[in-house]
């Protein structure tokens, strides 16, 4: 398509800066100086140098604000500053997967039988407890190590935490539901 709109109109710095700023904000990809000229400034007579100066001016304007103008491989684009990433992460909460039965059983055993070693958990569950399970529960601040059991190998002892109680709105472990005697469960 031959652009029939090329007019080579003059444009003052203020308008040029507004136009470049708007273009960078609405484009769905980074914009190079060439792209800016071709897609947004085709009607105006502007040198590459002038566009570059305008970009530098915009970059200075946005220093220390909520967004910043960065140069990436294919051009310039507005991005959020990296120091805000943590705060902005909340919006994009990914829904976490449900915990596996292994995790829940391990947690239950630690809660009800604390302090307890990994070996003891494995004995009761009859299967190995992966390090990932312990890590998940530790990262969640629901379990902690409280010492070592004085048996060969001195295995770590696990117990539940205050945060565990807080999460389940319990004031103490006493409030954990009393389990039915095993004979009842069997029925």
């Amino acid at each position: 398509m031959i652009p029939d709109k090329i007019r080579h109109k003059d444009i003052d710095d203020e308008k040029l800066q507004r136009l470049v700023e708007a273009a960078l904000f609405i484009a769905d990809k980074p914009l190079s100086v060439q792209l800016l000229k071709r897609d947004f400034l085709i009607e105006y007579r502007v040198s590459n140098l002038r566009i570059r100066d305008i970009i530098i001016a915009i970059q200075a304007d946005y220093k220390g604000r909520g967004v910043e103008l960065n140069k990436v491989a294919s051009g310039y684009r507005f991005q959020t500053p990296s120091d805000l990433s943590e705060d902005l992460a909340h919006l994009y909460q990914e829904k976490a997967p449900k915990y596996s039965r292994a995790i829940l059983e391990t947690l239950a055993l630690i809660a009800y039988k604390q302090p307890i070693t990994r070996g003891e958990i494995e004995d009761i569950r009859g299967v190995a407890v992966s390090s990932q399970i312990i890590k998940t529960l530790t990262d969640r601040h629901w379990i902690k190590t409280v010492g070592h059991k004085e048996v060969p190998g001195r295995p770590v002892l696990y117990a539940s935490t205050q945060e565990f109680l807080d999460y389940f709105s319990l004031t103490s472990l006493d409030q954990l539901p009393t389990l039915m005697p095993i004979t009842d469960i069997a029925n």
Binding site: Q79, T80, E94, L104, S172, I182
Partner: protein, 287 residues
Amino acid sequence: MSDPKTNLSSMSKEGPSPNAGVMVQQVLPFALLRGKAMVEKPQDLFIPPDALEVILEMFEGPLDLLLYLIRKQKFDILDLPIAPITTQYMTYVDLMKDIKLELAAEYLVMASILAEIKSRLLLPKQAVEEDEGDPRAELVRKLQEYEVIKNAAQNIDQLPRIDRDSFIAKVELAENFIPEVANTQVDLAELVAALQGVIKRTQAFEHHHIQKESLSTRERMAKIMATLKEAKNNQSYCDFSDLFTIKEGKQGVVVTFLAMLELIKESLITCIQTQVYGEIRVSLPKS
């Protein structure tokens, strides 16, 4: 972009307006015929058959067509001249029928309404007015009501619109951005169910059902160990008496004592008395 489209938009803005008045219908190109915009409807009502279908599509229905005829001839809606309007309307309808255009039923219904109004207006004036008032009233009201909406639709079309008059600003996230993973929600019932599952599968709990007392003892055991672990970093032991909280009363003291006995039995803690009747020091076993 194709040429006719460009023509269309420029015609709609600058093309000659055949009629006065504020209605926008007239300034729209009337039809596209072989790529040329027809801005003016032929005065003599001769419509090239090719264009008829397009013309019909220009109208949103019989009310729209009637409004066009009224406005075009600068008639006043309130003083609707039924006779000429009906004649013109019927000419259109007959033309459309002639070329066997599939005519929307609404156009025929309107034709019969017009015919009925016309015939009632021919009745002696007195009888009509006393009975039901002006037979045109209902049609006039409908035309007015439709014109209001037609106008409102044109106004909405002029409102600033996203991607036409205004563009949404958006920015990318920083490279170091990692979406937060929400914490998995766990229900207390799930936890109980999990333990019950374990119990079902194992005999480990067979002889010692978990009960309230043992629980608080176990909790205290964990607490003592945590206290001692902390102490280990400073002075490596705790005074026996420091492990009791007087405020908890007799029951608390008993629970703590039972917990300590259990811990000693399991060799999880050691107790040392450095002098007779002296303070008992409790510590984690030396590694």
